[in-house]
Structures are given as C-alpha cells and as structure tokens.
C-alpha cells in the first residue's frame, strides 16, 4: 500500500469514526417521541388538533427533557388503518421510539395495536373513546389512556340529567349504524336505565343519511322527555337541523361530543339552542394552576390565552388533551431521569397534577383499563350561543337546564 493509499484509508477511517460517533452522540442527545396521527384523510381534524397540542407541550416544556433534546417524530396515518399499521411499524421498528402519543381515532389505535404489542413502547392515548382498546389492551401496564371512554360520557350525562330533571323521565335514542353509534348504544342503555330513565324508543339511522324525517316522525309519536343522539359530527349537524325544522316536540335534546365543536355550532345556527353535550374541555371552564407545574399547567384562562396567541384560534378538546398528555409524559421522563420506559411508566403512575381538564392521576377505570386518567367529562348546554356548564360541580356555571327553544 502506498503512502497516498494509506492516507486515504486513514482519512476514511477517521471520517467514518466521526460519523459513527456523531450519530451515537445525536442518538444519545435526543429522546424520541413518536406521534402516529391522522394528518390527512377523514380524521384530519383530530390529527391536526393533536399535533397542535403535542407541539405546544414540547415548546412550553422548553424542547429538552432530562437534559436531552426532545425529538418529535410524526407519522401520518392518513386516516387509513393499513397506513396506520405502517406508521406504527416505522415509529417502533425503524425510529425505535420508546414513547408514543396518539392516535386519536379508535380505528387508527386498533390498527397500531399488533405492532405496539411486539415493541411495548410506553403508549399514551389521548383519544380512542370506543372501549375496543380497553377490551384488547386495557390491562397492559404500558398503556396510558388519557381520554374518557364512551361509557364515561353516559355515566356523566345520565347522572346530570337525572339530577336536573328528576327520575322516571322518558328517553328516546337515535344511534348511527356506524361503529360510533353501535358502540355507544349499550352504554347509554345501561347507564340511563341505572339512573331511572325509561327508554321509549331506539331508532337506527344510517350514517350520512340525507333525510332523517322518518326517524324523527317515529320519535314524535312516542313523546319522550329527552332525545339522545349517538352520532358523529356530520350526522349530528343533520340531526340538529332536521329536529329543528320538524319542530320536534322533545323538550331536552342531548348529543355526545358534537355540541362543543365550532363547526357544529356554525353549521346549526339557531337550531343549536338548548342542545346538551359532553366534552373533556370547554373554553369557559375555570381551572386553577397546578402548584408544582404552573408553567405547564397554568390556570385555564392563562392557558387559553397562550394557546390563542400561539395558534390564533381557540383550542378544542383534542388540543388540550394532547397537550396535557404530552406534558404528563415529559414530566414522567424528567422524574425518571432519562430514557428508561419502565421507569417512566412508574413515574407516570405516581404523577398527580391539576390540569385544565381536571385532575391528572392514573388509576383503574370501571371498564378495566389499568392506567386511566380524566374519566370525568364536562356536561354543558348551548344557551344563547354560549356554553352553560352543568357538571361537574367544580366547573358548574348554572344549576338550571333549559328546554330546546322550540319546545318551550
């Protein structure tokens, strides 16, 4: 080997060594958090909100945790189960993330479940209301569910309506033929019956139906006191408008998550008056700052102002949920002193914080999830274009439930 060849080989060895050292150092420098989110497709609204919340949490936290840079790795599930499988596989096998935040929609979470079972990263799920996830993986110690399940909605709704209207009221249920309606129906039946409601009608509607008149006509004949609409937002808009057009003779109209959404409120205009809904967060909720983490969890007004300043829009419940969930994960990583997912899981279980959506403390759910936080939902009512909060007591702004405007 000549001198030139020897020099070239030496240079190559040096550069390769540098590259390897650099890569190792970079790997040590950052802690990766994977975020499988629907950045496109039909769940894009969920994914965009979750990304806003996660981004803000990382920034407010200061971009570093346990002395190492936070590297957020987002993969677009495209609202497609097959793509979601690839997103999870990439994050867990190629990016080798130890922590996952997301997705929001249950089908995407269920699609990622097999890949997650193989890698067993610490998985924070700030969504997935359908208890399918609970049935399949609720007992897993590395799963942390930070959003109420469907039955939590009905526990809070039934209790609130019974407390305000008294027992023995007649209830009619409209549910969609998609996974959402069918999943919610048994819980609504159980918890409303448990709270003394008499179910006088259960009507199926096809998701995306252009005309709900036949169903509303059947409801009209049984004269219920309360109508409960177990449908998603698009069908919720249709139901709200057509119930109003029909001047349905039902005094109390109750939805699930949709009455809190700006798009539902804008699309339904005057027809929204009197609708009751559930959510984990609503602007107007007055929550105090956490004494230990006031920068991450300031009082709700301050956080709302910070969010609006950053994004020039009001947050929705997914923005807040993703923010709070990510902050809790980062605190746990900090408390664990680094990138050890088992230790982080232990720290996460110990965590007890006061947040904008209530107390952040993991415990078993009534359905069997080992690590469930935020089981209580806010029950609110649209009154004169704003939200009156009926439940829980700590956030209550009114003790009076209103009838739908055309039923008065």
């Amino acid at each position: 080997m000549g001198v030139r060849n020897g020099l070239a080989l030496g240079c190559f060895a040096f550069l390769a060594g540098q590259a390897l050292t650099g890569a190792t150092a970079a790997a040590q420098e950052s802690i990766k958090i994977g975020a499988p989110l629907a950045i496109s497709g039909k769940f894009v609204a969920y994914g965009a909100s979750a990304k806003r919340g996660i981004d803000m949490a990382v920034d407010v936290y200061g971009g570093k945790v346990a002395g190492r840079k936070i590297e957020l790795v987002v993969r677009d599930t495209q609202s497609d189960a097959q793509v979601a499988v690839n997103s999870f596989t990439q994050l867990l096998n190629e990016e080798k993330v130890n922590y996952l935040v997301g997705p929001i929609a249950t089908p995407m979470a269920m699609a990622g479940l097999p890949a997650w079972r193989r890698a067993k990263a610490l998985w924070v799920v700030p969504g997935a209301t359908t208890p399918l996830l609970e049935e399949e993986a609720g007992k897993e110690p590395m799963l942390f569910h930070t959003f109420p399940y469907a039955y939590h909605y009905h526990v809070s709704l039934a209790r609130t309506l019974r407390d305000h209207l008294g027992p023995g009221k007649k209830l009619a249920i409209i549910y969609s033929d998609d996974a959402y309606g069918r999943e919610h129906l048994p819980y609504a039946q159980k918890y409303f019956k448990d709270d003394g409601f008499q179910i006088v009608a259960e009507e199926l509607v096809r998701s995306g139906a252009a005309d709900l008149s036949p169903v509303l006509a059947k409801i009209r004949r049984v004269r219920p006191d309360v109508l409960l609409g177990l449908v998603q937002t698009t069908d919720g808009i249709q139901l709200t408008k057509q119930a109003y057009v029909q001047r349905l003779n039902v005094p109390y109209l109750v939805g699930t998550a949709y009455p809190q959404l700006p798009q539902w409120q804008e699309a339904t205009a005057e027809a929204q008056e009197g609708w009751v809904g559930v959510t984990t967060y609503i602007p107007g909720v007055k929550a105090k700052a956490d004494p230990n983490y006031p920068k991450l969890f300031p009082d709700s007004d301050q956080w709302l102002a910070d969010f609006k300043k950053r994004y020039n829009r009001a947050p929705d419940f997914i923005d807040v949920g993703a923010y709070v969930s990510t902050c809790m994960l980062l605190i746990a990583i900090e408390n664990a002193g680094g990138d050890n997912k088992e230790k982080v899981a232990e720290e996460l279980k110990k965590l007890d914080v006061r947040t904008m959506i209530g107390r952040g403390k993991f415990g078993p759910s009534i359905g069997g999830t080992l690590n469930q936080a935020f089981p209580d939902v806010v029950v609110h009512q649209r009154v004169k274009g704003t939200d009156a909060i009926l439940f829980p007591k700590e956030f209550e702004t009114t003790s009076q439930i209103e009838q739908a405007s055309y039923a008065k």
Partner: protein, 294 residues
C-alpha cells in the same frame, strides 16, 4: 294513518327532488359522452364550498350565488374536459374511469388541504323553516326549494335538448356519434359542452346541498354512489329515466324507513337490492335503450 301516508308521500317527493339534483348532471354527461365521471361528486362538493364561502364571507344567499356557482362549475368542467378527458376519448373505458376517479381524489384532497375536514353549512333562514300541513305532517322549506329547483333544472334541460340547435346536436351525438359527425356536427365540441353543462348542474346542486347537507371534502362520494344507482335504475342515457329513477328510489327508501322497524337502516340496502334486480332483469334501466351506437 292518513297523516302517515301523506307524510310518506311528502317526504318521498322532497327527497326525490334532492336525488334528481344529485343525478341529473351525471346522467347528461354519460348520456352524451359515455364518460362515467367518477369526479362528479367532487364537482358537487366544490359547488357547495363555493356557495358556502359566498355566504360566509360575502353574505350572499346560496340561491343568489347559484347561477354564478353554476357558471364557474361549467367553466371548470370545460377546462377539465379539454385538458384531460378529450385526449383519451378513444381509449378503453377503464382509462376514463381511472382518470376521473383520480381527478376526484385530487379534488377531494385539495379540499382537505385548503379547507380542512371540518363540517360546514350555509344557514339561510329557509334552511330552518317549515310548514305544518297537520300536527304531524311537516314540509321543510329548504327541501321544497330544492324540489322546485330540480323541476326547473329538468324542464330547462329537456327544453334545451328539444328546441335549441345545440340541444338537438347534443341529442344527435348521443344517439349516433358517427352519423352526427357525418352531418357536420363537431362531436368533440358537443362533448365538451355536455361535460361543461354536467359540471354546471353538479356545481349548482352543490349550492343547493350547502343548506341541506353538511359540507365536507368527503361529501361527494356518497352523492356519486346515489347518483349512479339512480341513473342505472332510470336508464343511463335518459333524463326522464333519471327523474323516474330518483323518485322511485326516494319512494322505496322513504316507505321502508317509515313502515319497517329500524327501516332507515334497511332502506338503502333494499333500494340497492332493487338496483341489482333491475340490472338482472332490465339492464338498460326503466327508460334506457339497448344496443345504442355511441
């Protein structure tokens, strides 16, 4: 019982009007050009968004903006035809299906990127108004307006096809492309015109849907499926058949929804079962013609 029958009839008629609007543009394009336009639902969606933004940003009622939306839709359809479909007219039919399907996907994703997946709706006062014929029989004003416009569109289209020079040329091309060409009719120009008209009807339908249905980037596909069912039922090259198909489907769906327990869940299934039966028994639909040269 009488009021129930009246209500079924009222709802079916009003729904028939909505279905006619959904299908008429698709029927025209297929009848003349033999192009199965899988992007038709997205044209309706863009029309709905145009009406929505006219309403939300400029305060223009969707019925007022409807002519402008239709003209824009027509121009868009013309450009689309000239820039893409015109080049593959002699290709196998599957190419057109793939092309229009791809265009539909592009338009849908474009809408998601530009306007997000959030639901929207125009909220003119008539969208929330109704008349009560009896205590139980309700007529929604918005749907009645849609029904009226469907009647106007169909009569206008039939009149144009029957009495105008271009309309007669369009019918000639529809009936026999080779003979029409020999008679000196510019077949490609007629194709472009028909496609533009079809898109104009689609966009106008979108303006009407803007106060009847939630507007989302994904609203087009269910409309397309319904429209296909209607034109197959009625006959793929017949405007009158399309109207009959629309009202037939509306009556079947409404009657099942009212009279069968959980019927609204069954209604579409039964209607599509009838569609399959129609394809088996009379593949050209109620008023369609067999063996047409195109």
């Amino acid at each position: 019982m009488t009021s129930l029958i009246i209500q079924i009839a009222v709802d079916a008629f009003l729904l028939g009007g909505v279905y006619t609007l959904m299908a008429i543009g698709l029927s025209l394009a297929f009848g003349v050009t033999r192009i199965i336009n899988f992007a038709h639902g997205e044209v309706v969606m863009f029309g709905a968004y145009a009406a929505f933004f006219g309403f939300a940003l400029l305060g223009v009622d969707p019925l007022i903006s409807l002519p402008a939306v239709a003209v824009l839709g027509g121009l868009g359809g013309y450009l689309l035809f000239k820039s893409s479909l015109d080049r593959i007219l002699s290709d196998p039919g599957i190419n057109m299906v793939l092309l229009t399907f791809g265009i539909g996907l592009i338009l849908q994703n474009l809408a998601v990127v530009m306007w997000t997946g959030d639901e929207r709706s125009t909220t003119p006062s008539y969208a929330f108004a109704s008349w009560f014929l009896t205590d139980d029989v309700v007529i929604a004003q918005g749907r009645l307006i849609a029904f009226g416009l469907a009647v106007v569109f169909v009569l206008g289209l039939l009149a144009w096809l029957r009495w105008s020079e271009l309309g007669r040329a369009t019918r000639a091309v529809s009936q026999n492309r080779a003979a029409a060409s020999l008679m000196g009719i510019n077949v490609h120009a007629i194709y472009a015109l028909s496609f533009a008209l079809s898109s104009a009807f689609g966009a106008a339908t979108g303006a009407i849907m803007s106060f009847l249905l939630p507007i989302t980037p994904f609203m087009g596909f269910p409309i397309l499926i319904k429209a296909f069912a209607i034109i197959i039922l009625g006959g793929m090259d017949s405007i009158a058949g399309t109207v009959i198909g629309a009202f037939f489907l509306a009556f079947v769906e409404t009657a099942i929804a009212y009279l069968v327990p959980s019927g609204i869940g069954w209604a579409e299934g039964v209607a599509f079962f009838m569609l399959v039966l129609m394809l088996l028994v009379r593949p050209n639909g109620i008023l369609g013609r067999a063996g047409r040269e195109a």
